[in-house]
Amino acid sequence: MPKKKPAKLSGDDIAAPLSAQVGESIDTWWWLSHKGTTISFLCISLFALLIRSAVSMFPYSGAGTPPRFGDFEAQRHWMEITTNLPAIDWYRNGTYNDLTYWGLDYPPLTAYQSYIHGIFLRMFNPESVSLLTSHGHESYLGKLLMRWTVLSSDLLIFFPAALFFVLVYHKNRTGSSKSEVAWHIAMILLNPCLILIDHGHFQYNCISLGLTMGAIAAVLCESEVLICVLFSLALSHKQMSAYFAPAFFSHLLGKCLRRKNPILSVLKLGIAVTVTFVIVWWPYLHSLDDFLMVLSRLAPFERGIYEDYVANFWCTTSILIKWKKLFTTPSLKSISLAATILASLPSMVQQIISPSNEGFLYGLLNSSLAFYLFSFQVHEKSILMPFLSATLLALKIPNHFNHLTYYALFSMFPLLCRDKLLLPYLTLSLLFAFIYHTKQKTKASSSSFTNFPGYVSLLRTHFFISLALHAVYLTIQPPQKYPFIFEALIMILCFSYFILFALYTNYTQWILSSHFRSKDKEKKQI
């Protein structure tokens, strides 16, 4: 019994159930939002948990495929390593820790999390984390316990962070009706990409994304020490959280510069960040060697500028320009770094010049997109970062958010097919579509950027080609000469949308700042 959407009639909130029996005003969300945000959050999160536990019954990545298995085995292996070896050996090659077999390559907070989960596993199923003998361990109980660790991380970190964000965001935002709030909660909690990757494919993105979302909410309620602590924790859980760093950095810098005593403010933030990092990294700070050893594990540059078929700039253009042949890895490193900084510069500058909450949310989106599109060694799954920030803006740019979801999912389609997650992929996409369309239509977005002639038909063509590609990918064997031709086509299609989307959001962010400046002037005059 699903869901939330008990329908109801009445138009916007309160206003009396009886008054609104006119056709158009049926509002699916009224029923569950009439008791307030927290109650509707509770109801939706029950449904979101139900969906997560159902998805977790499907296979995980690399199920039954020795010798390397997949991400599930990697996470299990880390639990095995962390529960059996002292902390200092976690990142060091040794007799018991063969770094070529899924060596730990995330920062220490991931290791601690593996340690805690490993203890939980050891309590109920010791074979699944025994040193060495558990390699490739697969069992009913083992899978179940591992799935439960993700479910509980989601429940303990992502959900509270989402509640925190929703409460703060909608307190600041005037004029969001209760049903809009409920819709927004559903968009955040029923995010199909995150559910499929965490509970299907098997990863713990909910932790770092949850911590980031907590930091974002802290920005909105202006509690700066909390921002620094939460974001530093997110960074220490997954280095990929750095995708958001430019936005946090520029927004906080912009704000500090406006204070009476900018240096002192910056210092305060610096101390908060340093203290958090020192605590988390403590076991590795005793010698420089240890520290560098961990750092080198986090940045696997030897793996090349891209892997597989990821819809970013380097991989897509490599069809025409063979980057890997033209440049050496070190020079590619600097080129991609320069490209990433260049791409995120506009949004950073905007935030330094005129920091605002809304601009900050766009800034997150732009900087994470810049990283996704231009940085070194990007994974398909990294689309989760830009996607999270788009989710937070769902009420602002509903149409674009809808398209982004579709293409973000589509870009992971080959990956999820390999994991045998086709059914949850289709089901969750449809579920998302149903829930998305329960939103009441608002006035068309005022932005002129996407109003250029032919935009809609372009988008439609795009959409139909991608639908056809789904079918083709599933039914037709690729020609032997080009075994990955469909993956490449999917990549091109998604990349072209992502680029368009990135241009649009950058543009919107700059438009914002001119709005704000004019508003500021008005206020001053008053």
Partner: protein, 582 residues
């Protein structure tokens, strides 16, 4: 108006779509033996002629539903064969568990739920939107239906859809058609017959009781319709002279008073009372025989399972059900109002559940679903429905005993409570109070009393104790018992069976599926076929069966013994062995 209609319909479809998404995600979940039962019926109806349907015993899961359901399976089997011919193969399809059969059968249930959707749509199309959506949410998202149909595996959604459809025609005043649909339903699943007295009295009074000539004409029409439906169902079997066999399959009174999983009905108290009295009397010095039969075993035989209290026969339960329904029959006769039909039908099914013979706990769906329609009629009804549906859903929990589905069943129930609470609160909003409080918080008259609250808290306590504390404490004590039992060891080859019995060492059962997932012990226990190697034989056993031979037999006829060694051993009669296997 037109606009509202279409937007209402869209909303209903959306409800259904969301429920369908959940159902699709539940496809890989645990399946009970009912899954194999229905697969076997597909095979029987597809590969055998009609005359053998009710005689086939290839699998222990013989066909025991009325003919329309068999026709329905025959219809499905046409598609099943297209999907994968092995599904409908009587022999090689046994215990078939490839993806093809799982997807096919699961999706057939999901598609047949369209019948439920139409039933709800027709039933609620004239109600105001609030009530209508509430009913849809309660029926389409019923946690009981999801648990029984889409996890456990049955076709209740489809059958209850017929029932709702029949009720909707009665409410429209189209009695003849409503009666017709109910007759059809009875030929799908005879357990729905509990409401037949209500239908009979209501139709007689409301449809036929109008003047002598019209009345008589209508009575004849109604009778003809019902006879025609039954003739369509049972006619072929009467024609080939198998009706006795069909009936005996459908009503296996040989099964005990209670089902293997006890349904929470009156007989549970009766049994407890009997045990208590026997215990008390024995303490007081009376000679009380300990009954040889058990309540939960499938076959009871002739001996009374009760030590003190009088034995209960199917006839007793039948009389009690009828007696319990009587008040509502009188009411139906006195004031045959179409608006109350749903209420009476739900009441009849409740009586059947409480007093019936060999009731399944799943039968509680028969009244919780129609009760949803009643629940929107008044505040009082809503309060009762709130409790009843929670308790009936909770009583289904033991069906899903595997840990993997534990979070799912708990979340389904919690979500149901939440939807009911929010929905009823909105439906019974206190308009005056909300006007005073402008904040927008809705004041509602809906709420439950202290007694009900403490009852629900009790349920929560029971769940916590049985799930978490009980295994913890009992685990330790069980460990001790185990050690005692094993302290005596026997050498298996020196154990000589008597008469025509053989001692078999069970083959290691597959601990993992082909996908590498470890099966829990409980799933292995429910495997119906066992194979093993004969260790020693009794003196009366024939030449064919000797030590070293591999045999196939059913767990029903095997008696497992613990000889203290690592392997598992069973005693089995020679005549119960199904086959020698190479």
């Amino acid at each position: 108006m037109e606009l509202r209609e279409s937007s209402d319909r869209r909303l209903l479809l959306r409800f259904f779509a969301v429920a369908t998404a959940v159902k699709l995600l539940l496809i890989p979940s645990y399946r009970s033996t009912d899954f194999e039962v229905h697969r076997n019926w597909l095979a029987i109806t597809h590969s055998l002629p009609l005359s053998k349907w009710y005689f086939d015993e290839t699998s222990p899961w013989t066909l025991d539903y009325p003919p329309f359901f068999a026709y329905f399976e025959r219809f499905l089997s046409v598609f099943a064969r297209l999907v994968d011919p092995r599904i409908v193969d009587l022999q090689s399809g046994l215990d078939y568990s490839a993806e093809s059969v799982i997807y096919f059968q699961r999706i057939s249930v999901i598609v047949s739920d369209l019948c439920l959707l139409y039933g709800v749509y027709r039933l609620t199309r004239k109600l105001e939107p609030m009530k209508r959506n509430l009913i849809c949410a309660l029926v389409i998202w019923s946690p009981g239906l999801l648990i029984v149909d889409h996890i456990h595996f049955q076709y209740n959604g489809f059958l209850l859809g017929w029932l709702l459809l029949s009720i909707s025609f009665l409410q429209d005043g189209r009695d003849l058609f409503g009666g017709f649909l109910f007759a059809v339903l009875l030929c799908f699943k005879h357990l729905f017959a509990v409401a037949a007295p209500v239908y009979f009295v209501y139709l007689l009074r409301h449809y036929c009781w109008s003047g002598l000539s019209t009345g008589f004409r209508r009575l004849v029409t109604l009778g003809t319709v019902v006879v025609a439906v039954f003739a369509a169902a049972y006619g072929p079997f009467i024609y080939i002279g198998q009706i006795k066999q069909v009936i005996s399959r459908m009503f296996p009174f040989g099964r005990g008073l209670c089902h293997a999983y006890w349904a929470p009905n009156v007989w549970v108290f009766y049994i407890i009372l009997d045990k208590g009295l026997a215990f008390l009397l024995r303490k007081l010095g009376f000679e009380i025989q300990i009954p040889s039969a058990s309540f939960t075993g499938g076959l009871v035989g002739d001996s009374s399972p009760f030590a003190v209290l009088p034995q209960i026969t199917p006839l007793t339960t039948f009389a009690m059900v009828l007696l319990a329904i009587t008040p509502c029959l009188i009411k139906a006769w006195k004031k045959p109002q179409p608006g109350h039909v749903a209420r009476w039908i739900a009441y009849a099914y409740t009586c059947g559940f409480l007093f019936g013979w060999h009731v399944h706990e799943k039968a509680s769906l028969h009244f919780t679903i129609p009760l949803a329609i009643v629940a929107v009629q008044s505040l009082e009804d809503a309060k009762h429905y709130f409790l009843v549906s929670i308790v009936s859903c909770y009583s289904l929990f033991p069906l899903l005993y595997e840990p993997r589905e534990y979070p799912i069943k708990v979340l389904l129930l919690l979500l149901h409570c939440m939807v009911m609470w929010l929905g009823f609160a909105a439906q019974y909003a206190d308009e005056k109070a909300s006007k005073k409080k402008e904040a927008g918080e809705l004041k509602s008259k809906f709420g439950i009393g202290c007694l009900e609250k403490s009852y629900l808290m009790g349920l929560v306590m029971v769940e916590i104790v049985s799930q978490f504390l009980h295994p913890f404490f009992l685990g330790i004590r069980r460990g001790c018992l185990r050690i005692n039992a094993i302290s005596t060891k026997w050498e298996p080859t020196k154990v000589v069976p008597q008469a025509d019995r053989v001692l078999v060492r069970l083959e290691e059962l597959a601990q993992t599926t082909s996908g590498g997932v470890l099966l829990p012990k409980a799933a292995v226990k429910f495997e119906r076929y066992l194979t093993g190697e004969v260790i020693s034989v009794g003196s009366e056993v024939g030449q064919q069966v000797g030590p070293g031979k591999k045999v196939l037999f059913s767990d029903v006829s095997a008696y497992e013994v613990d000889l203290g060694t690592g392997a598992r051993h069973c005693f089995c009669k020679e005549s119960d062995l199904l086959a020698l296997v190479e």
